[in-house]
């Protein structure tokens, strides 16, 4: 079942494009030291200090910043944290959503009432303002608080979808049979129900990862991140706060945003493909 899904997934043109883009970014993140000509915080080499606010040239493909950092190298190194924060937040969020959704949907009763209630409240509270408020109260700035804040505010949508899918799967015959055969609830949940919601779990992961990549960039752009780290978000912050527009330095703020968008598109495409595969009506015949 899972193997078939993977096969369908790869044979889908949209999914394949998404996977290729993601591999592109993973490669950049892993091999950053090899790809980037300079270090992320390097502002001089043997021949002396780098020019400040240099235009793109052979030496600096995307120019340099107000402090003389090579922007191309920063973009490459920034991929590491931006992608890392996105994926870790995606994993944590999906884990929370999956656990709550499975419990809520399978056990029902009081557990379901309580979880659904909290869920409904988190669904209506707009997450970005909440994230901004929480982040601005936190005095320790860094990557970990950002991951925590984004995960703890981002699980509601996934929980709701997973729960309703579990609710419908648990009424199917094979679950009933397993129950009659006296299987333990945990085994039923993981062996019978989980494989049937796997596409939703993946969709939740993709959706929350996009949200996290954009959320991180947003927090950092407002100045709520750790400004000494190098990410796409902090690049945009420095560009905005050092009047990149005034210097006509499009090479400063265009590339980080494009990278965010491309990464987001990759997850969106995979998400879309999953939708097509799991919903035959949407699939093209």
């Amino acid at each position: 079942m899972i193997k078939d899904m993977l096969k369908l997934f790869i044979s889908n043109k949209k999914a394949l494009t998404g996977v290729i883009i993601l591999i592109f970014f993973l490669t950049i993140a892993i091999f950053a030291p090899i790809i980037a000509p300079y270090g992320p915080k390097q502002s001089r080499d043997e021949s002396g200090k780098f020019e400040l606010r240099a235009e793109p040239s052979l030496k600096h493909p995307l120019g340099t910043s107000h402090a003389g950092y090579d922007l191309f190298s920063r973009l490459i190194y920034g991929t590491r944290l931006s992608l890392g924060v996105g994926i870790s937040t995606g994993i944590i969020t999906t884990f929370i959503a999956l656990t709550l959704g499975l419990f809520s949907g399978y056990y029902g009763g009081v557990i379901d009432e309580i979880i659904s209630f909290i869920n409904n409240i988190f669904l209506v509270i707009p997450s970005l303002p909440l994230v901004i408020v929480v982040a601005s109260y936190i005095t320790i700035k860094g990557v970990l608080p950002i991951i925590l804040v984004l995960s703890l505010t981002g699980w509601a949508w996934g929980t709701r979808v997973i729960r309703s899918q579990v609710l419908s799967v648990r009424e199917r015959e094979f679950v009933k049979v397993a129950e009659v055969l006296g299987e333990k609830p945990l085994i039923i949940v993981f062996r019978e129900i989980f494989p049937n919601i796997i596409s939703l779990v993946m969709a939740t992961f993709f959706t929350s990862t996009i949200a996290a990549v954009i959320g991180e960039a947003t927090l950092e752009f407002i100045g709520l991140g750790n400004l000494s780290t190098v990410t796409w978000g902090t690049m945009l912050y420095w560009a905005q706060n050092n009047a990149a527009l005034l210097y006509n330095a499009w090479w400063w703020f265009l590339p980080p945003g494009l990278f965010i968008g491309l990464l987001g598109t990759s997850f969106a495409l995979m998400n879309f493909a999953i939708d097509e595969i799991s919903n035959p009506k949407i699939r093209k015949r």
């Binding site: 901004i132 109260y137 100045g223």
Partner: protein, 328 residues
């Protein structure tokens, strides 16, 4: 009627929870931001420091239940505390100036985005095998993946900075007052165009995708096949048989999406220095104006809750299953 009552009860309860969250959040935070803030405020008058202490629950002589009661009573009197960055102006007076701009900008952009996006979505679902439909869908999936603020930056760069078609920021020309009538109105539209465009285009992908998927589901229904077999005109089938049934989930998604739209609009305002709630939130964050920050947060939640409620009522009026069934 039962449905209506349930929604009202939920609204009241949710408002209550929102108020409580707003009360608890600053008291839960580690690292004691209040003390740091008060140290920073050394030079300020005692009453300002007192306002901060109240906002943070630093009145250790009062227990938390009394603090909570005081908080609710103050809110009921419209007392949101005193702004630190605009000291000694009350938070409400600061907020009052920003609200109309945001409501106008966001309201109009959201309506445009919804209407245009829904039409595009219906169109591409109807002709979903064409290459053009695929291209439009791909384009909007792509646009949707960008942060609103970056999209705004690009528009500022190309349409306001490099080619000064539009102003760089603000909500109206500083030389004009509301008393100037039409000239003022024109200036407001002119200044709001780029921020509005940013929100409209960035949020449109959501509506396109939602209605498209619903349409495709509906188009697979038997009654569509029957309608085609009866030889009804294509436009009749598309508009009266398919779109009419596909639009409901879009409307119920409206309130849910509003949360994202609000988040995006806040950032758009920051990029365009548009004097609404978002720009104010930005200033409050930068100047650590916690009373203002909290009040803005509260207003945003209330805004979402009420829009949610309105969407629920619209659904009730449109969908007989909800109206008569009572449960959802």
């Amino acid at each position: 009627m039962k449905y209506f009552l349930r929604r009202i009860l939920w609204l009241i309860f949710a408002i209550f929870v929102a108020l409580t969250i707003n009360f608890i959040l600053p008291r839960l935070m580690p690292g004691d931001p209040a003390t740091i803030l008060i140290q920073r405020l050394e030079g300020l008058e005692p009453s300002a420091i007192e306002a901060v202490r109240t906002a943070f629950g630093l009145e250790t002589d009062k227990n938390i239940v009394i603090q909570y009661w005081d908080y609710l009573v103050n809110l009921a009197h419209g007392d949101l505390g005193i702004s630190i960055s605009h000291y000694p102006t009350p938070v409400w007076d600061v907020l009052k100036k920003a609200l109309p701009w945001t409501i106008g900008l966001m309201g109009l952009s959201t309506i445009f985005s919804f209407v245009i996006g829904t039409f595009i979505g219906i169109g591409i679902a109807w002709k979903r095998k064409s290459k053009i439909s695929d291209a439009i869908l791909g384009l909007f999936l792509f646009i949707r993946s960008f942060p609103y603020f970056w999209f705004g930056l690009i528009l500022v760069y190309f349409l306001a900075f490099n080619n000064p078609f539009f102003p760089l920021g603000g909500a109206h020309s500083t030389r004009l007052m509301p008393a100037d009538g039409l000239a003022y109105f024109k200036s407001v539209l002119y200044h709001g165009f780029l921020p509005g465009l940013t929100i409209t285009i960035s949020s449109m992908g959501y509506w396109i995708l939602t209605i498209r998927n619903n349409m495709i589901n509906v188009l697979a229904e038997d009654y569509i096949t029957v309608a085609k077999a009866k030889g009804l005109s294509a436009s009749r089938i598309r508009n009266l048989y398919a779109a009419k049934n596909a639009i409901l989930p879009s409307i119920s998604g409206f309130a849910m999406a509003l949360g994202f739209v609000i988040g995006g609009s806040l950032l758009t305002e920051m990029v365009f220095s548009y004097p609404g709630v978002g720009f104010m939130l930005f200033q409050a964050v930068q100047q650590q104006d916690y009373p203002l920050l909290q009040a803005i947060f509260l207003f945003i939640i209330l805004g979402v809750l009420f829009s949610n409620f309105i969407a629920d009522i619209v659904i009730m009026l449109l969908d007989p299953r909800v109206r008569d069934g009572g449960s959802r």
